[in-house]
Every structure is written in structure tokens, then in C-alpha cells.
């Protein structure tokens, strides 16, 4: 008995020993900086000891700062010795004047213990997960190992994604939902890939088993509507709009960029290429027209034409927007904070913001009202002429000179804008746009490199003949470089005048004299000056014809698109750090560089936007692929694996499935070679995607946002899809692609901008029924029903639309004439039914792709009967209700009411 007891004690003792040894050795006992410590620091310490403030000379933002000496002499953290570390001592102080966090309640015992342990364990600094490269992830085979490999779970798994999802479900004691019904799945898939419900033949082929699910996926991915649907998503990122924004919000022809996006998506341009062309297409060797069009991505920044605004201020604002947008779009990083101070929570230093800005600060655009530089689009005949000029100069002069002339015809750069002129006498920058000198007027155009040109080019307008213009070197006494007469012009003209060759950087002193005009009149309004290399072969026969043709083309009216063009070396701007983010307070000059905490720079890359874009799509960049897969995932599930789509920094929502995120990111880069279509296909082929979206109380209460994916996605359709779907089911939708934006009907009096920048001219014919992506978007006054359904005004980049549910949305789909017209056309289709029941059945099926239940049928039939007797009683209401058609009867009007109700059902407005 005694022996037994002692054995028993020994046994217990051994168990205790094992447990304590195990608990010492088990990996979870090592405190992890990113998971355990950083959240405590961010929450309690960083406001005073971080990017903005460094109270007591102590900061916890960067490793080197945390271990540096503070104002009290020594370091606050002594690795390995918590007891001696002021960082820990101060947490435990009883005196509130000494205790940290200062004037706040004491940290919890658990937090203090964790911090103590961390310091004792050596205070190892760590990188936030998003700043380390995704590591190769093994696909978990949870279903086999966990004993619940029931038939259901086996049936659930369709590809590797499902293993990740299933493991988390199992860990939470959950099971996947059964697959959605075929008809529900077909609609979901088609809406997700093409933004439209499936057409009858595809729907039937799939639901009757004629084609497989994968066949349907492939078919939908190959349709043009795929590019149109996903373009809306990308255009939110690109802040694409048809106007310039700000006060005047004038029109701007940007649609060729929108078409470029649609085509690139449909051609499945690899995302790395897609990135490089948009950020740096102009810097690629001999860029194609398409590559130049792609650069309009960053010309979607706003342009301020308000009177009295300074172009330079808004040029800088555009550059800042480009830095912020690039980092938000590709890096899930809100770099904007770093403009004024080092990032509060993430490892980006104030100075690094300006290093990034230096990449973007050398483009030709300068917030001018003409939006230069503009890419010009010539007719076929004109283009032949352009090519002929190019060939002639190349042959008679050289390729380099030919290229300069070719580029000048293509986008008229480099130029010197009027707003650069200063020190006016009898003159001014008229309307903040044009250099305007009165009689005996003068001004300076500083720092001009004429590159030895023998002509000066001027774009100007004048209503006055006989102004003598004299251009001197540097000042009023300087050498005359050019002297010529300007006369009345037809609108704005580009003319050239002989100019004395000089290679120096000079100030142009410009004088104008015309004593026949009143002293208050301007002699002319000059937009810009330009210099092109001399054509020494100018004496050759044939040159004068080339020259005529060149000037004629320059002065021809062509469609245009604002693009990005890099400054030539002699026009390069230095980038300076702005003190506290104020653009007028410039301090140190900085060079282009990427943040230290991210991937290293490869010296083979040029230090410009091209290099930067290569850095972004380098496989060493930890954020680009993760960002893209997270956002595509969100488009499909309504929620990202990292829910805060715009931010993956240390303040972001932790990923719900970190390994899946990395697995998708690596697969996207390495196996799919950046193919977005392949990524979409992976996601929609999964069993996770194919689940039923039916909810229940237990599931909802446990996981209201469906972050564990125990059910399929169920989300209200986006603004574009709500319109397009209504047009599609009513048979009105136009499939016409591309071209200028259209203006479908909208209520009167919506456009009321301060200075009339245009009118809403209602489109006619099929342009009334184009897909939403082609609708004209005026930033200060977007298409009202899209705004109501949460589409933005595209003034700044939007990576996530919030989905709301408001009464104004109900008013749109109930009362907007567009939706009444679609209801009427659906009703016409319904009227083909042999009786009312069949009509309603057909209409419901057409709209939501499901058979109507008797209960629902009865509800709609009652509505039909009420409407019918109402219209029979008051037949004049029929004509009022359906004004766009003659010969409508009470039956059709009543069916229209029913169709309108169907098109307002939750199941119609929602992807189930």
C-alpha cells in the first residue's frame, strides 16, 4: 500500500516534470514580437514613443531607436534583463507621474508579463508578417487527418484552397455548407466573372449537365464582359473619371485609358506587365502607343482649373497623390502619413516618403489647363504623313533628330509652359494660363535650355496684328536671340520663328511692342514655348515640303489623351523634403529610393519609375502579390483574407487565413506567372466558393462576417451590376464595346457646377443601354443612381467600396425611369405566357434564374390583380405610367408593376 502510494507520487512527479519541461520547451513560450509585443506597443506606447513624438528621446518604432540611449542617458531596454530595463520598471511604477503609459491606467498584468518575458528572452525585434516574404506553404491535408473525413468534407474539397479553409473550419468545430444548387451557382459565377447573369444557352448547358462547371468557368473567363466587369474594379483603383475634378471640373478625354484596361484584362496581360506599363510605359524602349496610353493611369489625378490657383501647388498635389496611390494600390500601405512624419505604426521614415516622391517628381505634366502632355491620335492618312516626316529626317539628318520631331508630333514635349514666366512689366499670367504682354510689356522665362535650336516654337492666340516680339538673352540689354511679328490668329496656333543658336542655359527676356492698341489690351496669349533640334539638312530639296507638313500636322485637330512623359535631363527637378508636409517649406534634397524595410533595390534597375515598377513586381517584394490576391479574393467573397484591403501594415486586420494568403500569392507569381484569370479560376473552382450561402443562427452568431467561409458568399451586387443586370434581363443591354463615355438618362438639374463645364446630353439609340462601365463620370456630380449604390466619385483611389443598404437605393430601383423601362421590357417578355401564372413564372425565372415557389407566386399574382383592376379603373394611368410606348394595355401595365417588384427583390439585387 505504502509502496503503491509512493509509486503514485513518483508517477505524478514525473508527469509534473514532463509538463514543466515541455512547457519550457514548447515553441509557444517564446514571445513573438509581431504577434505578442507589437500589438501592445501600438496600442499603448507608440503615440508618444513613435513616429510622431519621441517623448524622453525614446521610440519604439524602429529597432535601432528602441535600443538607443534615451534622454536619461542609457537605453530603456536592456535585452536579457527586464529587471534592469527602465522600459519594464516604468510599467510597474506606483507613482502615476513616473508610471507608463503616462497618465493612463496601468497595463494589464498579462501585458506586463509578456513584455517582461520578451525583454528577458533577449528582446528580439521582429518584422511584421507583411514585410517578410511569403514562405513556401505546404497545403494542409486536414480532412484526411482529422477523422471527420466524412463524405461531405470529401465532396467539399475541389482544389487546394479548400484544404486551408477546411482546416480552420475543423479547428473551430464547423463543417462546410453543402454545395449551392446548380442554378444558384451558375448565376453567382456568371455575375462574379462577367458582371451579368448567364445567358439562356450557357445556363441550360450547365444545368442540364451538357458542360461541366469548369467548362462554364472557362467560357465566362473568355468573354469580353469579363474585362468590362473587372475594369470597374481596377478603375476604382486608378481613380478613372471623365472630368478633371475640383471646382471647375471640366471634361477630360480619358476613355482610351479605360479601353486599354478592358483590353488588358481580357487579354489577361500578366499583372507584372500590367503594372510596368501603367507606371512606366513611357520609359520602356520605343514605347508603343498602347504603352503610352497605359501611363494615363497616373494622369487620372485631378487638375485644378480654379481661377487664382497656383499650378505648382496642384502639380505637387498630383505627385503626392501618385505616391500615395501607388503604395495603396500595389503595397496595401498608407504611405500618406509619412509625408509629415515617420509612420506611426509601420517602419517607414519621413525622409523615405520624399525618396519615393523623387521617382514621380520628374514628369512633364504641370497642372496646366490643357492637361499637357497629351498623346495625339492621328487619322490613318495623317499617320502616314507623320511616318513620312520621320523617315525623311532620319534619312537626311539622323534617327535621334527624327525621333525628337516624331515625339513632338506625338505628344508635343518638351515644352516650357507660360506659367514659368515671372517679373512681368505691363503683363501678367492671364487667367492663370497664358503669358500675356501689353504694349511695351516684358517678362522673363527662366532657366531655358534651347539645345542649340535654330527656331523657337510658340503656341499662342492673338486678335491683334503687328506686335513686335523681341527675345533677348537674360535681360533688357541682352543679345537679341529672336525678333518677329505676331498677327491675328485663328484660335490657338503653333508657329515657329528663327532663333539664334545657343547651348547655354539662359533666361529668355521677352518684350512685346504694339503702340496701335490700347494700353490695357494684351498683344497675345501664349501657352508655351518649345525648341527642337536643328535640321541641318534643311537646305536639301524636299525639306520645305516636310516642314509644311510638320507644321500642318502640329496645328491639326486630333483626339488626345493625357499621358505621362518623363522630363529630359535638362528639365529635371530636384526633390526636397517638405517640412511637416508643407510644400512651401522645402529642406534637404533627396534621391529616388525605396523604403529600407522592404525589398532591396537591384542595381540593374534604372533609378526612375521603370525601376520602381520593376521593384514592385519583383518576386522579392513581399506586398504586391499578397495585395493583389487579397483584393481579387475580396471581389468574390466580399471580404479580404486581410479585411482591411487598403492596409496590410501592423495596424491592419490580421489575416483570417495567413497561409492561404501566402500560398495564393506564391502560386500567382510562380505558377500562374501573374495571370489574373488563372487566379480568379483557382478561387471560383474551389469547393469553398461553390458552397450554399444559406446561413443559420448558430453560424451567424459565431461568424457574422463569414470570415471562416463555412458558407458561400452572399453580397449585394455593385452599382454597375445592378444596372447591367436589369438591362440584361429586360433584353435592352447593348454589348457595344469601347469608345467615348455615354450619357444615359438622368434627372434634370443634376449637373450644377459653378462654371458650366458641359451639359449632360442624353445619349440616343443603343448608347442609352450601354454597360455601366461606359457611363460618363463627372467627379463633382457622378451618375446619381451609381452614387446611391456606393460607387464613388473617383476623386481619389478607392480600393474598397463600403456596401450600404439605404432607402435611397429602394427609390432608385422602384422609381428611376431607367428601371421602369427595364421592367416594361421584362413585362413584354412575360406577356408571352399563356396565362398570368405562367407570365409571372417566366418573368421570375428570367430575372433570378429559379423556379418560383407557390407562395411567392401567390404574392405576385395578388399584386398583379390589384394593379390590373387599378389600371382598368383608371385607363389613363396606363399611358402615364408607360409613356414611351403606345398601345399598352392594362395587362401589360400590371405585368410591368410585377416586373418592377421582381427587379426589386433581395434575391435579384443580391448575389446568392
Amino acid at each position: 500500500m505504502k509502496k503503491k502510494v509512493s509509486y503514485g507520487l513518483l508517477f505524478i512527479g514525473i508527469i509534473i516534470l514532463i509538463i514543466s519541461v515541455w512547457s519550457l520547451l514548447k515553441p509557444s513560450d517564446t514571445v513573438d514580437f509581431s504577434a505578442d509585443i507589437k500589438p501592445i506597443l501600438n496600442k499603448n506606447c507608440i503615440t508618444c514613443h513613435g513616429g510622431v513624438k519621441k517623448s524622453g528621446g525614446f521610440s519604439l518604432l524602429f529597432e535601432e531607436e528602441a535600443f538607443a540611449d534615451t534622454e536619461s542617458g542609457g537605453p530603456a531596454i536592456i535585452p536579457g534583463n527586464a529587471a534592469k530595463s527602465p522600459f519594464i520598471q516604468r510599467l510597474k511604477e506606483d507613482d502615476p507621474e513616473l508610471r507608463m503609459p503616462y497618465k493612463k491606467s496601468k497595463l494589464s498584468k498579462e501585458d506586463i508579463e509578456l513584455l517582461t518575458k520578451w525583454v528577458d528572452q533577449g528582446a528580439k525585434w521582429g518584422k511584421h508578417w507583411a514585410y517578410t516574404l511569403p514562405e513556401k506553404v505546404e497545403v494542409p491535408k486536414a480532412a484526411q487527418s482529422a477523422g471527420i473525413s466524412s463524405g461531405d468534407a470529401q465532396g467539399f474539397i475541389k482544389n487546394d484552397i479548400d484544404h486551408f479553409i477546411l482546416r480552420t473550419l475543423e479547428n473551430n468545430g464547423l463543417e462546410p455548407s453543402p454545395p449551392a444548387e446548380q442554378n444558384v451557382l451558375a448565376r453567382r459565377l456568371s455575375l462574379d466573372i462577367t458582371g451579368l447573369p448567364p445567358d439562356d444557352s450557357l445556363f441550360n448547358d450547365f444545368t442540364t449537365g451538357k458542360i461541366t462547371y469548369e467548362n462554364m468557368v472557362d467560357e465566362l473567363l473568355s468573354r469580353d464582359a469579363y474585362g468590362e466587369k473587372w475594369a470597374s474594379w481596377w478603375l476604382d483603383h486608378a481613380r478613372y473619371a471623365d472630368t478633371k475634378g475640383y471646382e471647375k471640373d471640366m471634361g477630360r478625354t480619358m476613355w482610351r485609358y479605360r479601353d486599354w484596361v478592358i483590353k488588358a484584362l481580357n487579354n489577361d496581360m500578366p499583372f507584372d506587365r500590367f503594372t510596368i506599363e501603367q507606371l512606366a510605359g513611357d520609359l520602356l524602349p520605343d514605347p508603343s502607343v498602347d504603352q503610352l496610353i497605359a501611363t494615363a493611369f497616373h494622369r487620372n489625378t485631378m487638375n485644378n482649373d480654379e481661377g487664382g490657383t497656383e499650378d505648382e501647388e496642384f502639380r505637387v498635389a498630383s505627385v503626392i497623390d501618385r505616391v500615395n496611390t501607388t503604395f495603396e494600390v500595389w503595397q496595401s500601405t498608407t504611405i500618406g502619413c509619412v509625408q509629415c512624419h515617420s509612420h506611426t505604426y509601420d517602419p517607414f521614415k519621413n525622409r523615405e516618403y520624399y525618396n519615393l516622391m523623387a521617382f514621380f517628381n520628374n514628369t512633364r505634366d504641370e497642372d496646366t489647363s490643357e492637361d499637357e502632355p497629351n498623346l495625339r491620335f492621328y487619322s490613318g492618312e495623317q499617320q502616314e504623313e507623320v511616318d513620312r516626316i520621320y523617315q525623311w529626317i532620319a534619312k537626311n539628318e539622323n534617327w535621334e533628330v527624327a525621333k525628337a520631331y516624331y515625339n513632338f508630333l506625338q505628344y508635343s514635349e518638351p515644352i516650357y509652359h507660360a506659367h514659368l514666366a515671372k517679373d512681368y512689366t505691363n503683363g501678367n499670367l492671364a487667367d492663370t494660363k497664358w503669358l500675356a504682354l501689353r504694349d511695351n510689356g516684358s517678362c522673363y522665362l527662366p532657366d531655358v535650355h534651347t539645345q542649340g535650336a535654330d527656331h523657337i516654337y510658340l503656341k499662342y492666340s492673338s486678335s491683334i496684328d503687328g506686335t513686335k516680339v523681341t527675345i533677348r538673352k537674360d535681360n533688357a540689354q541682352g543679345e537679341i536671340l529672336s525678333q518677329f511679328t505676331t498677327n491675328r490668329t485663328k484660335g490657338r496656333e503653333i508657329q515657329k520663328f528663327p532663333f539664334k543658336r545657343t547651348d547655354d542655359k539662359i533666361n529668355l527676356y521677352i518684350e512685346a511692342d504694339n503702340d496701335r492698341i490700347s494700353p490695357k489690351s494684351a498683344t497675345s496669349y501664349i501657352s508655351w514655348f518649345a525648341f527642337l533640334p536643328e535640321i541641318k539638312a534643311g537646305d536639301n530639296s524636299g525639306y520645305s515640303q516636310i516642314d509644311d507638313s510638320f507644321m500642318k500636322l502640329l496645328n491639326s485637330n486630333t483626339p488626345t489623351l493625357p499621358i505621362i512623359i518623363e522630363n529630359p535631363d535638362y528639365q529635371k527637378r530636384a526633390t526636397q523634403v517638405f517640412e511637416r508636409g508643407n510644400w512651401l517649406m522645402k529642406t534637404d534634397t533627396v534621391e529616388p529610393a525605396t523604403p529600407q524595410s522592404l525589398n532591396a533595390w537591384n542595381d540593374a534597375w534604372p533609378k526612375n519609375r521603370l525601376g520602381l515598377s520593376k521593384w514592385l513586381v519583383s518576386k522579392e517584394n513581399p506586398l504586391t502579390a499578397r495585395t493583389l490576391v487579397n483584393r481579387v479574393w475580396q471581389q468574390i467573397y466580399g471580404r479580404g483574407i486581410v479585411a482591411s484591403l487598403e492596409d496590410m501594415g501592423s495596424q491592419s486586420d490580421p489575416p483570417s487565413h495567413p497561409e492561404l494568403l501566402d500560398w495564393l500569392a506564391l502560386r500567382f507569381m510562380n505558377e500562374h506567372n501573374w495571370s489574373v484569370k488563372a487566379l480568379v479560376k483557382d478561387i471560383v473552382m474551389s469547393g469553398t466558393y461553390r458552397q450554399s450561402s444559406k446561413n443559420n443562427a448558430r453560424l451567424y452568431n459565431l461568424d457574422p462576417e463569414n470570415r471562416l467561409y463555412a458558407r458561400g458568399p452572399r453580397i449585394r451586387l455593385g452599382a454597375e451590376q445592378i444596372r447591367d443586370q436589369a438591362l440584361a434581363v429586360s433584353g435592352l443591354l447593348s454589348t457595344k464595346m469601347y469608345g467615348p463615355s455615354v450619357m444615359p438618362p438622368q434627372p434634370e438639374g443634376i449637373w450644377q457646377t459653378v462654371y458650366n463645364g458641359g451639359n449632360w446630353v442624353e445619349s440616343q439609340g443603343e448608347d442609352r443601354y450601354r454597360k455601366a462601365v461606359y457611363t460618363y463620370l463627372k467627379r463633382t456630380s457622378p451618375y446619381p443612381s451609381f452614387l446611391t449604390f456606393d460607387a464613388g466619385s473617383r476623386e481619389v483611389s478607392t480600393v474598397r467600396r463600403t456596401v450600404t443598404n439605404t432607402p435611397l437605393q429602394a427609390l432608385v430601383t422602384l422609381n428611376d425611369p431607367v428601371y421602369l423601362e427595364t421592367a416594361y421590357h421584362l413585362a413584354k417578355f412575360m406577356a408571352q405566357g399563356s396565362n398570368v401564372d405562367n407570365s409571372i413564372r417566366h418573368g421570375y425565372r428570367k430575372a433570378v434564374l429559379a423556379d418560383i415557389s407557390d407562395e411567392k407566386l401567390n404574392v405576385l399574382k395578388e399584386l398583379y390583380n390589384t394593379s390590373l383592376s387599378d389600371f382598368r379603373e383608371k385607363p389613363k394611368n396606363i399611358k402615364e405610367f408607360i409613356p414611351f410606348e403606345t398601345g399598352t394595355d392594362a395587362n401589360l401595365a400590371a405585368l410591368t408593376v410585377v416586373a418592377n417588384a421582381i427587379m426589386n427583390l433581395d434575391e435579384f439585387l443580391t448575389k446568392s
Binding site: 491592419s652 434627372p747 443598404n805 404574392v859 399584386l863 390589384t866 405610367f881 418592377n900 427583390l905
Partner: protein
Amino acid sequence: MNSLDRLIKEKLQREIQARTRRHFIKDCVAGMGGLAMGSFFMSCNSFLGNNEKGKIALTERDVNPLASMAPPFPAKVKSVIYLHMAGAPSQLEMFDYKPALQKLDGQVTPQSMLEGKKFAFIRGTPKLLGPQAEFKQHGESGNWVSNFLPHFSKVVDEVAFLKAVNTDQFNHGPAQLFMHTGSPRLGRPSIGSWVTYGLGSENQNLPGFVVLTSGGKTPDAGKSVWGSGFLPSVYQGVQCRSKGDPVLYIDDPKGIARNLKKSTIDAINNINKKEFDEYSDPEILARINQYEMAYRMQTAVPEVMNINNEPEHIKEMYGVRPGKESFANNCLLARKLVEDGVRFVQLFDWGWDSHGTGHDTAIDLGLRNKCTEIDRPMSALLLDLKQRGLLDETLVVWGGEFGRTPMQENREGQEMAYKGRDHHGDAFTMWMAGGGIKKGASWGITDEIGFSALEGQVSVHDVHATMMHLLGFDHEQFTFDFQGRPFRLTDVEGHVIHEILA
């Protein structure tokens, strides 16, 4: 912590956040109107009955994002009427009396004043321009008001002036954005959105945040001045118009009688309820609720927007012009809206940019007309609110996006035919009235020509902090997480202006 624990912890946090507004599904009908809800009751109950695992836990805001909420601190006011004079009215002809400027009229501005200053249109060396109005002290407070505002002179004891408001923006668009969103760049929510997000609406038949414009134009900065920025768009301002539908698509299509619309919505909600039975997605409940509200709004909005039924003496008092778009109509509407429980009413009146480029923008002509247009209505608004006992629970704010220069504008360096003043943000006047405001107060003093603040300078952020304070918020605590950090209306600045608080 495994993810189940985390979920449970988060759920608990959500519940705590929801405080007393937590409702179980059986209560969901309480937030909904009485339309065709008989069967819905059954649905709620049967849902509960059929599901032994429990009930769906929802906050009232899950089904109604505009549900009214109490502020964290005791509030002085329940609603706000903000009168914005877009274009920037001249404080020097209205409230900031500068006799010394009169003496300096026509003199060249000293260089020392111009150094380091940027102007939108003034170039070279402008001349000073004396006040173009006559000033007198009024009321017991003895505050100065010009003869451009004879009616307002009589209610001057109701308001508190801020005479030295400062903004660093001197172009309309950015300055209006700054004034209404706390940032001169786009993307931030407007004050009205913040307030509606924080407090919801008292009236579930009307939008919580209503915008009324007059002067024929929308503000220079566009609709972003009442946008919701990163807040959900349900909190953005709803523009109610004088012409066409008062709210877009609020009118039933022609030929559709009210009862038919009711039948339609009944049918939609009835089917949606069946959909909810099948999917248990609370968004469906929210949609049912929104369709109910839409139906009620269709009656309530045209009703509240109709001023014809107001008694003659009230119409007379405001000087309304029924059927036209006018500031007077909008002031009367503002009263009706706050009376009905609308949280934030934003008025924009266009035409205050008195550059002197023509008759309408001349300081002595056009500006005087603009003053006449607003004088009676805004005074009537204060009196009307007062006589209804509403002034104590409403905050009325008046101002532009900046002020104007004591110098006469010399556009493009030339003398101009009319007298005008350029944009000027260093010191300008705003006023507030209503609950918690010290009546008859005046805070801030400008120099003898009204160019710079001498004392009591306040920033746009300070104005916002004060408004939030009166509504029961600590502007430093009232935040919304976006892009990985908490954002607030006042960014990292702002102090409550206690000098004008009662």
C-alpha cells in the same frame, strides 16, 4: 489564442460596443414601420422557434444604420443647421467694423503687410479699401453689425461672434472642403456625416443629413462637401431640391397611385421575408426595413419640403418665395426639418465671391444684395426656432470658407471698374447661436484694418471641436478606423472655444 476564442472575444467586444442598443430578432419589428408587418411577426417568431441553436444577435444598427444613438457625453444640442455662404462673404462689410480702414481708403498698402502673403488674384501693390457699409452697435451686447443687415441687427443678442477665424486655404474648392471635412483634400467625411454616423437620426421617415442649396449652383468643391468620405455612404448628405423631385426618385412614377406603390412594397417585402426564412441573412431584414423607410419617406419628404401650408405670417417672416429656389425657403425648410428630428441640415448659398469683376460681385452693390437676400430669412430662422423652443436644442452656424482682404482687388495688377476684395483666410468672421452658446458674446479681435488676428484667433479645427463638444462628443475620442489608423474630424488639432460657450 485559437481562432474560435478570438471569434468569441470579438463577439463579446461587439456586444459591449452595442451597449443598450442590442436587440434580438424578436425585437426587429420594433424598428420597422407598421406596414404589412403582420406576417413578418410570424416570420420572426417562427424563425426563433424553428431554430433550437438560438437567435440571431443583431444591433438595431444592423438593420437600421440611422437608428438614433445617445452621444457619449451630455449634449447641449440635438441638431445642427449650418448656413454656408459659398464664395466667402466680406466680414468687413458685415460684422468686423474697422473705422481706421475708412481713413486709409485709397492708400497704397504698405509693403510690410504684403511680404510673404499669397493672394488668389491681387498682384503687385494693391490699395486699401474702406468699409462700404455703415456700422452701428446693436442690442444689449453692443455688437457691431452693418446697415447691410438691418434685420439681423435686431437678433444680435442671440448669437456669439468669432471674429478671428483662420484658415490656411485661399481657393474656394480646398477651403470649402477644409471647412466641411477638416481637410482641404478630398476623401474625408463631412461634419454632417460624422454627426449622423455618431448620433443617427431621430426621424426614421426622413434622411438624417439634409442638404439645401440656393443661388443656382452647388458649392465649388462639389458634392464632396457633404460626402461621407470613408464612412459608409448611408451617412452622406441627401440633397433635397426645390425643383424636380425634392429627393431623387422620391415621386412615384406617373400613373402609379399610392396604394399601388404600397401593394408593390408589400409584395417585395413579403417575398423578401420568405427569402430571409431560407437564407437567414440579416441584410435581408435591413433591406425590408429600407423599403419600409423609402415608402414612408415618399410621403414625409414632399410633406416637409412643402412650405405652402405654413401660416402666412411665418412665410412673411422669412420672406419665402414658394416654388423658387431661395435661401429664404431653405431657412424655413431648415426649421421644419430640425423640428421633425433631422440631425444635420446644411445650407449652401452661392454668390458671395465679391471680387468686383462686375455689378453682382461689387462690394457695394452685389454684396449688399446678397446680404439683403439672407438678412431676413436668417434672422427669422433664429426667432422662429426660439419661439418654438427649438433654439435651445439646435446649433446654428453661419460663415463662409474664408474672408476677404482689406485691400481692393487689382486683378492682374490693374485697377478694376467695380470695388472688390480678394480671398483672405487670416482672419474672418463666423457666428454661432443656439444651445450652449453664450448669447451676445464676441471672441477674437483683428488689427485696425481687419487683416490679421490680434487676439482670440481660432482655427477651422477649433470650430469643429466646438460643434462636436456641443453635440456631446470629445472630438479627440470620436474616431473611425480606416487605412489602419483612427481618423477624426479634427485630425490632430482643434480646441473647444470655451469663450463662446454659456
